[in-house]
Symmetry: C2
DNA sequence: CGAAAAGTTGATCTACATCAACGTGCGTGG
DNA sequence: CCACGCACGTTGATGTAGATCAACTTTTCG
């Protein structure tokens, strides 16, 4: 049955959440409802405008989006990368005005939905609510790790850490071609790692000289030696929490 | 009626949440239940141990706590300051192991509670659940602003920004003596702003020379010129979301 | 009172920023 | 199909914010 709710290959969100717990038929129905009415957007499209009223919430179905802040001086700081299956404004829409911006990094498919819908899902499907909360907590853990990176790692380590994180996040939910290629420009990296463009170029070069990465013939970065990159930054993946929901967690919330 | 649930002066959590929406009698009962069985802890006490199984969740009733990460090299990066009325491990306890640590910065009173309890509150009191979620979203916004600070502000701006943020957070929930004194050492500041101890000392001096702050006779920093500090970092308080719950938000979640 | 914690100061070093010029691939329009 | 323009990346020279090292003072507290 093509397009059946059980056919998870069509839903990045379902794929992701089913890694935390078994989804039931009703769960798939709710997810499908959230994802109905997707729109395709070109790279660079602005989904959330900083300092403007927050629009409706959304899910990324395909492509990469970017959440970032614009500072008074005109600088940009990237907060996190929104990969397929990620919510946009799940909490943000609670507020009146957006304190950050979101835009599409690559051409993307985005499903916008009314807050009513997600509230309904939370009420009717506690299991699903738990999985979504768990996922949200994981996203927050990524931001916290970015704080640690910006505060206490140098440019070289920071860079390696970002690459490993993206590689692991990608590989976890969908089997990736090897080697992995990341669709990011040096400008994006600079604004993520808090570095200047020039220094990013030089740091990339050093990683290339060490044989850890390669330039893609297309635009993008090819990861040649993931273990080497991990070694560079002393990568500890605890914060990714790549596990199913622990027994204790499920017990507490399942009524 | 002393100690009555309506006597919010005894509960930092109730004070905070009532700034978002009117609490009803039942809400106060739930809050009181969460806060029963508080423990007093000395400064420096470790509440959550990094890489260990996450214990029970808690609320800070009095005092300041600190959430931080320890990095391989032994460095420490402070994630955020937990002021009275803040939850510890509300989401963290979902996970098996803690990816960060929490300890008391000043002598504190902390109420630990079973996850069952908060789950029950969420089920029975949707209004309260909404207020707590809203509060959590605000805390996350603070962390995101820290990312921006670490990535794109220099030491002087970063410092001023931190001071203003703490001052506003304190003043919002309880009227503060003027001028405000912050109970933080230079070591804590260094690990928050991603700077060395020496450089923190020098930056403090510059702020002192500009007449923006003063050293407390006791330990701590006295804020002399809040507007001056705001000017230094181009402070924009949007991200604090110091508002009541917007109409639209309440409507969506109240059934 | 003594020891440890907290803060200060000066000298030196370096990671990263800034400025400026140049290379390279790619898409659009003539 | 070429030309032009633009986004992206590279390279070298120079400047500087902040780190590091080391010695010292002051405050706090048992």
């Amino acid at each position: 049955m093509i397009g059946s709710p059980y056919d998870t290959t069509y839903s990045a969100l379902a794929i992701k959440l089913s890694q935390y717990l078994e989804l039931e038929y009703e769960d798939h129905r709710h997810i499908a409802a959230l994802e109905s009415g997707a729109r395709s957007l070109p790279a660079g499209a602005e989904l959330v405008k900083q300092n403007a009223p927050y629009g409706s919430a959304a899910v990324v179905l395909e492509g990469w989006c970017l959440r970032y802040k614009l500072l008074p001086g005109g600088d940009r700081q990237v907060i996190n990368f929104l990969l397929p299956g990620t919510f946009i404004g799940l909490h943000g829409t609670l507020f009146e005005t957006a304190d950050h911006a979101v835009s599409a990094l690559t051409p993307s498919r985005i499903a916008f939905f009314d807050s009513q819908k997600i509230a309904q899902t939370f009420r009717e499907r506690p299991r699903l609510a738990l999985a979504i909360s768990w996922d949200h907590a994981r996203e927050e853990a990524l931001i916290i790790e970015r704080v640690a990176s910006l505060g206490r790692r140098d440019a070289y380590e920071r860079f390696a850490h970002l690459l490993v994180e993206l590689a692991l996040r990608l590989a976890w939910r969908t089997p990736q071609q090897n080697p992995i290629t990341l669709p990011i420009t040096q400008a994006v990296i600079a604004d993520t790692l808090g570095l200047s463009l020039v220094h990013v170029s030089r740091t990339i070069q050093r990683l290339r000289d060490e044989g850890l990465i390669e330039n893609s013939s297309q635009r993008g970065i090819v990861l040649r030696d993931l273990d080497g990159l991990k070694a560079v930054c002393g990568y500890d993946e605890t914060y990714l929490h790549r596990t199913r929901l622990p027994e204790k967690t499920r017990k507490v919330f399942e009524n």
